[in-house]
């Protein structure tokens, strides 16, 4: 971009290093958090939250979105709206399903069998 001069780029470099450190820390934190066995809902929320923060750092600073042009923002906003609509409406249509309750199958689906000692509650069926 023509508006970045030598000194600006130098200060950007400092930012990149800081972001890198944050990303590395975030990675370790998310792995440690997963070892805490926070339960399903909290576990998902924590993992996705950390991922969102990391992703935002990459998008904002490495991909320079913090200072991008309006056209790009609008394209991305439009895309985000459609992803949310796609995922949301598909989930909504599954939730609003008529007929048999979901999740109860006459034949259970194949799953990976992990050999381990009796663990309390992991949602495994026989």
């Amino acid at each position: 971009m023509s508006d970045t001069h030598h000194e600006d780029v130098q200060s950007h470099v400092k930012t990149y290093i800081k972001v890198f450190v944050a990303l590395a820390v975030g990675t370790l934190v998310t792995v440690l958090a997963s070892n805490l066995h926070l339960g399903i809902i909290l576990g998902i929320i924590v993992a996705l939250l950390i991922a969102t923060v990391k992703g935002s750092l990459v998008a904002g600073f490495f991909m320079h979105l913090v200072a991008e042009r309006k056209v790009i923002y609008w394209v991305l906003v439009l895309t985000a709206v459609f992803v949310v609509a796609m995922a949301g409406l598909i989930m909504f249509s599954r939730a609003d399903q008529q007929g048999r309750q979901q999740g109860i199958f006459a034949v259970p689906a194949g799953r990976v069998q992990v050999p381990h000692e009796e663990k309390p509650t992991n949602g495994h069926t026989e």
Binding site: L89, R94, Q98, F105
Partner: protein, 611 residues
């Protein structure tokens, strides 16, 4: 002379502006190098050459898809009777036509491939790849698309996808045969094989190529329109055709990837034995399927229709754009409601992403989600109607010239009206209970695509042929083509509404003969088939006219024979590499016809203000 591309070689240069073009060529001879034949005409990066490549290829595919349909219509008119064309039956062989009688599996192959080829290899490449590529850079005053090499790749990727699709007919088991919609579980297991060389797997592979081609093309179109508009060409001075192509670009860009994802997943199901779309407990042919299960057949439908609904707007938007251009030019007045056209097409594009499950009303979705999609579907009909109304109102008070392009553009209006109106009961969940998956649906969408989009594309071909070739197509043959096609298309598709309302399902290889409720309406099948075969004859008139005119058509005496205002007419004929002798600057809107006080009844966009 004649350094500048395919257009010169195929089409004779017109005489009128040759002096200007000569200067241009002499100027270029000093700078340019003679490109070898294969760089100029085969692997060209010039958007006009690529546009013509797309055009010719897609017309061939349209013809092929048409032939598939003509075969189907024999079976529908004379179910179980041997085809009276002996050499064709024997060439097709005993697997497809045992004793000359169409096997049900072959009927299904014809059905699935007719739809696939017409949509993905025919209409969209013609409307977007051909017309879009050729005209968008010209109409925005640019020298080429933003990414010429990418443009070339998107054509060749399309070509490869088409070849893969065609080859799928020749593998054991034949081509895809689970509908153009490829619903699992049937599509996952037909046939049960991990091999790449089965029809359905090749269909999926072909689709990956076609989707890639579309994506690359849409990136090019959008970037060109945003970045390469000439000086003075503000957003509200863009021809409606360009707006239509811009919205279409976004539809292709954002709606295709979920189908690509679904296609990859179906490939995994077929080749790697996964169960993305296979629920647990499936039994096939009396045997339990040896897969993990846990998948969802509806997941495919959601991802497929997430694309396929915007896809139908991809089919219609460029057509509306063409009709707008032809109507403005042949009424000698501006389009009525330009702003409403622009805002409607943008709103339409946006809404098209959130209506898809109206194709899934009968899949067991609950009443709330059905109501949601029914509502958005009803809302989306509004901008459609606004656009149609604006185009119709544009005729009021016009000095109408009834040339061949205008005839096709005029017929588009009521035909698209019928297509659109018959969509309404389908969009209402309760009425759809009766009409879903019947011939009513087939009638509806064919009205929109055949006497709808295809008519608009014909209008475009007759209209822009002189610019691309320097010659006019024959007017009499054009009128024969027009009237014959109009009558025959109505003959094929109007009775479908009656059959559909009587309950005749689609995709029945015997056309409904085995169903009691169909007996009264079977009588239409013969007439529909005769209309289809007669339609072929009228297309032959077009094909003869097209190729004859390239070599011996009446030469135009001006760069702007239709006396139009938009920038594509401000080039030499045919336009050389780089398009404009001098980069245009735009001073006014796209449809300044019959401006009071002006010397002529049209003011080209790039003509400076009169003193």
């Amino acid at each position: 002379m004649g350094n500048d591309g395919l257009v010169e070689w195929f089409f004779r240069k017109e005489i009128g502006s040759m002096t200007e073009a000569h200067h241009y060529e002499e100027h270029h001879e000093e700078h340019g190098h003679e490109l070898p034949f294969w760089r100029k005409y085969i692997f060209s990066t010039d958007h006009k050459v690529i546009g013509i490549q797309y055009g010719l290829t897609s017309l061939v595919f349209l013809f092929f898809g048409f032939c598939l349909m003509m075969l189907m219509r024999w079976q529908l008119a004379f179910p179980g009777k041997p085809l009276p064309i002996g050499f064709l039956s024997s060439w097709l062989g005993d697997a497809r036509m045992p004793g000359g009688i169409m096997a049900p599996e072959f009927y299904n192959q014809l059905g699935a491939m007719h739809g696939t080829i017409m949509i993905f290899l025919g209409v969209v490449p013609l409307a977007v790849g051909a017309f879009g590529n050729y005209l968008v850079p010209l109409q925005v005053g640019a020298q080429d698309m933003a990414f010429p090499k990418l443009n070339m790749s998107s054509y060749w990727v399309y070509f490869i996808g088409g070849v893969v699709m065609l080859c799928s007919f020749f593998v054991p088991g034949g081509s895809a045969q689970s509908g153009w919609t490829s619903y699992p579980p049937l599509s996952d297991i037909t046939p049960q094989s991990h091999s790449l060389f089965t029809g359905q797997t090749m269909w999926l592979t072909g689709m990956v190529f076609l989707i890639t081609s579309s994506l690359l093309g849409s990136i090019n179109t959008i970037t060109t329109i945003i970045q390469l508009r000439a000086k003075g060409l503000t957003w509200m001075r863009l021809p409606f055709f360009v707006w239509a192509q811009l919205v279409t670009g976004f539809l292709l860009l954002l709606a295709f990837p979920p189908l690509e994802a679904a296609g990859v997943m179906q490939l995994m199901d077929r080749m790697a034995g996964t169960s993305f779309f296979l629920p647990s407990g499936l039994v096939v042919g009396g045997k339990a399927l040896n897969v993990s299960g846990g998948g969802s057949a509806l997941l495919w439908q959601h991802l497929f229709w997430f694309l396929a609904h915007p896809e139908v707007y991809v089919l219609i938007l460029p057509a509306m754009g063409i009709v707008g251009e032809v109507i403005a030019n042949n009424t000698r007045k501006p389009l009525w409601g330009y702003k409403s056209l622009v805002y409607s097409v943008i709103f339409l594009g946006f809404m098209s992403f959130i209506v898809w499950a109206h194709h899934m009303f009968l899949t067991g979705m609950g009443t709330s989600i059905n109501a949601f999609f029914q509502t958005t579907t009803m809302i989306i009909s509004v901008p459609s109607i606004v656009i149609l109304t604006a185009l119709i109102l544009s005729l009021w008070g016009g000095s109408i010239r009834f040339n061949v392009p205008m005839l096709f553009a005029l017929a588009f209006l009521p035909m698209f009206g019928i297509g659109g109106l018959t969509g309404l009961p389908l969009g209402l969940a309760s009425a759809d209970i009766h009409l879903h998956d019947t011939y009513y649906v087939i009638g509806h969408f064919h009205y929109v695509v055949a006497p709808g989009t295809l008519f608009a594309l014909f209008a475009g071909i007759y209209y822009w042929f002189p610019k691309a070739s320097g010659r006019q197509m024959n007017e009499t043959l054009g009128k024969i083509h027009f009237w014959g096609s109009l009558v025959c298309m109505n003959g094929i598709f109007m009775p479908m509404f009656i059959q559909g309302m009587a309950g005749v399902s689609r995709r029945l290889y015997d056309g409904g003969t085995s169903y009691l409720h169909a007996q009264n309406v079977l009588v239409f099948n013969k007439g529909m088939s005769y209309s289809a075969w007669a339609l072929a004859v009228f297309q032959l008139v077009f094909i003869v006219n097209f190729f004859w005119s390239i070599f011996a058509g009446r030469k135009v005496t001006s760069d702007n024979p239709w006396e139009s205002t938009t920038l594509e007419w401000a080039t030499p004929t045919p336009p050389p590499h780089g398009n404009f002798l001098k980069i245009p600057e735009v001073f006014r809107g796209p449809y300044e016809y019959s401006v009071p006080g002006a010397k002529r009844d049209f003011l080209p966009q790039n003509q400076p203000q009169e003193a």
